[in-house]
Structures are given as structure tokens and as C-alpha cells.
Amino acid sequence: MAYETGTHAAAVAHGHATSLGLDSRKMAFWAFIGSECLLFGSLISTYLVYKGRSLTGPFPHEVLNIPFTSFSTFDLLMSSLAMVLALSAVQRGDMKQGKIWLFVTALLGMVFLGGQFWEFSHFVREGLGLTTNLFGSTFYVLTGTHGAHVTVGVIWLLTLWIQALRGKLGPANAMTVEITGLYWHFVDVVWIVIFTVVYLIQ
């Protein structure tokens, strides 16, 4: 596979190759993403196990706003598109496009976080706190953990963007952008699952 050969040649050239010929940073990051699957798997299963077990309200159908969350989902999906376009631009050495798409990705991430902040504030005003009922506890822990991951991602993206502005990011360190992209896309796929399991299957 050409993509595979290209990235592995880069790993060897930069002294990051493992005995398998794979980039050690990328391999470690995939292992980390694997561990994150288990973290979110346990949080999602906790949510599902306690689903419909709240004795007092507010209940999911009373507070969840599907049109608003659909927009947040669209926003996060578009941020994933911006991320791959940023990586593609950095890999071909087009740093002007790379800077733009990195910033757009971070901006869309911030829009998502703003939406989540608004949603949480709205729920609190509706009387749903972390300790109100089982729905509140499992909902805030699951979506809050995801939001914390998005926050880390936005900080990471802005750091890369600043590096790019200073001229310290180029095709030579495209792997850094690729690993950031892996993290960002993982955050996106977790949201794909949360959107279905929490919001649409009530």
C-alpha cells in the first residue's frame, strides 16, 4: 500500500521506526486510542444500564434538544473534514492551506464546546444537575468526559496552529499533525456513538 510505504519510509528517515518498520509514535497512539475505546465503552455501558431507571425528573425526552444537537454533530463532522484537509495540506507542503484548516478545525471544536456549555447550562436551569437522578449522573459524566477530550483536542490544535504560524511546522513533521488528527477523529467517532445512543435512542 502506497500510503503505508510512504509513512513508514518517513518513520525510518526520522529514526522513529519500530522493529515492525512502523512509526513508534503512531503505534503508541493507536494503542492509546484502543485504551480510550475501553474508557468510553465503560461509560456508555454505565449510561445504558441505568437508562430509564431515574425515579424523578427531568427525564431525557423532557430536556434533550435534537435539532440543536444535530447541529453540534454536523459541526463536529465538518471539523473532521477540516482536519484531514489540514493534514493533506501539511503533507504536500502547502502551509498556507495547512494553517487555515488547522484553525478552522480548532474553531469548529470551540463552537462544539460552546454548544455543550449552552446545553449544560440549559439543563441545569431545567433542574437537571449531576446528582439530580441517574440520568443526570450518567449523562453528565459521559458527555462531560467527551467534552473534556474535545477541550484537550482544541488546545492541541491551537498549539499546532501557533507552531505553524511561527514556521515551525512543515512536511517534515507531518506525523505530528497526523497523530493530532487521529485523536480528533477518535473524538468525532465517539460523538457519533453518543449522538445515537444518548440523543436519538431515548
Partner: protein, 100 residues
């Protein structure tokens, strides 16, 4: 980078369009009363398609070394097994307790 021969900007845009269309379908299915009976399997299926598209094309697993697929797929299957097992254990115990 040789990536261009596999995943071009056009491919990324087509994947994005597919993701948006599937999201619209998901929300549509949620609101249409006819689909209420099959809501859960349909939504899970559509969600799985979106998940696969992002992982295969945006995370490049389709083009990358199979070992990365193993590193991701192994824990993913384990996580799914945990979810299914916990649901069976919890609802099984609940059924035993309530007799329903």
C-alpha cells in the same frame, strides 16, 4: 506523500457528504412515526456506517498497515463485548428479581 494516490481531497469531500446525508437520515428516522418500531436497529446501523467511514478514510485505516487495525479493532471489540455483557447481566438480574 503517496497518500494522494489513495485518499484525495475529492474522497474526503465525498465522505463528508455521505456523513452529512446519513446524519440527516438519522434525524429523519427519529421523527418519522413509521420507523418507531425499527428505530433502534436502523439508528445503530446508520451510526455504524458513519463510524466506519471516519475510521477507514479520515483515520486512514483503509490504507494503513493492518497492525493499526488490530491495535484499534481489538480493544473496540472488547469494549463492545463489555457493553453487551453488562446489559445482559443487568437486565438478566433485573428479570430474575422482578420475574418479568
Amino acid at each position: 506523500m503517496t497518500e494522494q494516490s489513495h485518499a484525495t481531497t475529492g474522497t474526503y469531500l465525498r465522505v463528508a457528504a455521505a456523513l452529512v446525508i446519513i446524519t440527516i437520515l438519522e434525524v429523519g428516522v427519529f421523527y418519522v412515526p413509521t420507523f418507531q418500531a425499527a428505530l433502534v436497529p436502523v439508528l445503530l446501523f446508520l451510526s455504524a456506517i458513519k463510524f466506519t467511514l471516519v475510521v477507514m478514510f479520515y483515520m486512514h485505516l483503509k490504507f494503513d498497515n493492518r497492525f493499526f487495525t488490530f491495535l484499534f479493532g481489538g480493544p473496540l471489540l472488547l469494549a463492545m463485548a463489555v457493553i453487551v455483557s453488562l446489559l445482559f447481566i443487568f437486565y438478566g438480574a433485573l428479570r430474575l428479581r422482578t420475574g418479568v
